[in-house]
Amino acid sequence: MHAQTLAQKIIARAAGRESVSPGEIVVCRVDLAMMHDSGGPRRVKPMLDKLGAKVWDPDKVVVITDHYLPAKDDESRRIIRIARDWVKEAGVTRFHDGEGICHVVLPQKGYLRPGMLAVGGDSHSPTGGAFGAYMFGIGATEMLGVLVTGEIWLKVPQTFLVEWSGRLADYVSAKDMMLALCARLGLDGGQYQAIQYVGDAVAALPIQERMTLCNMAPEVGAQVGLVAPDAVTQAYLESVGAGGSDLAAWQGDADAPVGAHLRFDAAALEPQVAAPHSPANAAPVAAHAGTRIDTAYIGACTGAKIDDLRMAARVLRGRRVAQSVRFVVAPASAHDQAIAAREGTLKILTDAGAELLANSCGICAGYGEDRLGENQVAITSTARNFKGRMGAASSQVYLGSPFTVAASAIAGRICDPREFLK
């Protein structure tokens, strides 16, 4: 059997094969299918009804509401109601309603394990790669295909190794690593292949920072982002009752051929900011320092997990945001918000002037009533700053790490968080 990457090993197992080679098209059994309220039941139910088909295995399906919450109008309430009714009808018991953003709630419930082949009805589904799962985003019709057949086809990807050696400086984070990668590769450099993050700087990252790396793999056009499971992964999985995986089975072979091997020096990385309207417009923060902002937003699956809230709090402790700035924080899950409340992180943020929003996708998805108005300038800890995504087409969104967003909120302008190093 030839040497294989982690991605190949997972796909081979799911396809019932000894091994697979890049470029082959194979049909895989799906271990887990996740949907949210927007792309999930409201889209797949009518198609299932039309086909007169049932879900292949309700125990492998997870439904999490996060897009149309809080439901403040009739149409949003109708969409949420469809999700609530459908899970009962379909026999789906893994349903989490208003507990937070799907990509963050999914691992917190202990549903993900190394070696799984999983799909999600959302483009940020590769977040699951942080746990050694091959997880990718699909549209609603393709999800319907999975729900009916339990299978999905895919083209075995090449693996692009992204190696970060050395150690990150203080106030530099996984988000900065990903913005730097976006600048290097552009939005399509990932070519719908598999990115695997390696190197000592990656090994040193806590699990949620690894989630941020994998979460943004789609921003460079990759199908998935992966981190091979290690002791950090295992400790996390055990803490959520999902331990016991054979980690040795889910490592790539050292001599497996890869499509590319990109090397980065973590120690040399500076805080990054991506200018409107693309994550690929990233540059060291100095390039945009001084740009006046109206809104600073800590939110989304990319940038409002407990580790992200702690980063913001480290900068904001004992400080207040500029009077001219609207500072909004939408913790990514109720679980993470509860931790933040318990340990005092949340109080630091609210004392600094944060306005708390619900544990949902909110402004990042451009869905809620807090969308950015005409000509608003914002800096956000989210993943995407496409034109008009978070509000008016004239709004301008800069992307940065939670450190950089917090520092900019204090200054009222885009600001290097290292100015607040204590």
Partner: protein, 167 residues
């Protein structure tokens, strides 16, 4: 495939531009009216059935929302042509029965050119300039689905065959 007029766009046409989040709770009718409006305000009102949307690199980047290709299909767009597509968008388009054709020379097409696209053969005839552009053919197993009208009708056929076999 009949010929249609080309609508030409640039790199990285994203799903927020194709299906703006603000209209995502509306039905496809309303959503499609805002398709591409932030880059080409007259698109939805002027595009005609059979027209072809042409992009450059990474067409359809961003979200998994299949309302992006669905809006184009709803407006009658017959085919998409680009130098490259976002992988997720590509799957969504094919699943909805909308052929997405990869053509390295997409940049040679001008707005308003009359195109005849043959996804299976992998060729585009530009009837305006007389040029023929080579494309990557859509693999047969996917074209079968496109011809069936997308994944849902395709599955419908499959399930029906299974039921008949069980009878």
């Amino acid at each position: 495939m009949n010929d249609g007029r080309a609508w030409v766009f640039g790199d990285n046409i994203d799903t927020d531009v194709l299906a703006p989040g603000q209209y995502m709770k509306s039905g496809i009718e309303e959503l499609a009216r805002h398709c591409l409006e932030s880059v080409e305000p007259g698109f939805a009102s002027s595009v005609r059935p059979g027209d072809v949307v042409v992009g450059r690199r990474n067409f359809g980047t961003g979200s998994s929302r299949e309302q992006a290709p669905e809006a184009l299909r709803h407006l009658g767009v017959a085919a998409l042509v680009a130098e490259s597509f976002s992988g997720l968008f590509y799957r969504n388009a094919i699943n909805l029965g909308l052929p997405a054709v990869v053509c390295a020379d997409a940049g040679r097409i001008r707005p308003g050119d009359r195109l005849r696209v043959d996804p299976e053969a992998g060729r585009i005839d530009n009837l305006t300039t007389g040029e023929t552009l080579a494309c990557e053919p859509i693999p047969g197993h996917l074209m079968q689905m496109v011809r069936d009208g997308g994944l849902v009708p395709h599955l419908q056929k499959r399930l029906q065959a299974q039921r008949e076999a069980a009878r």
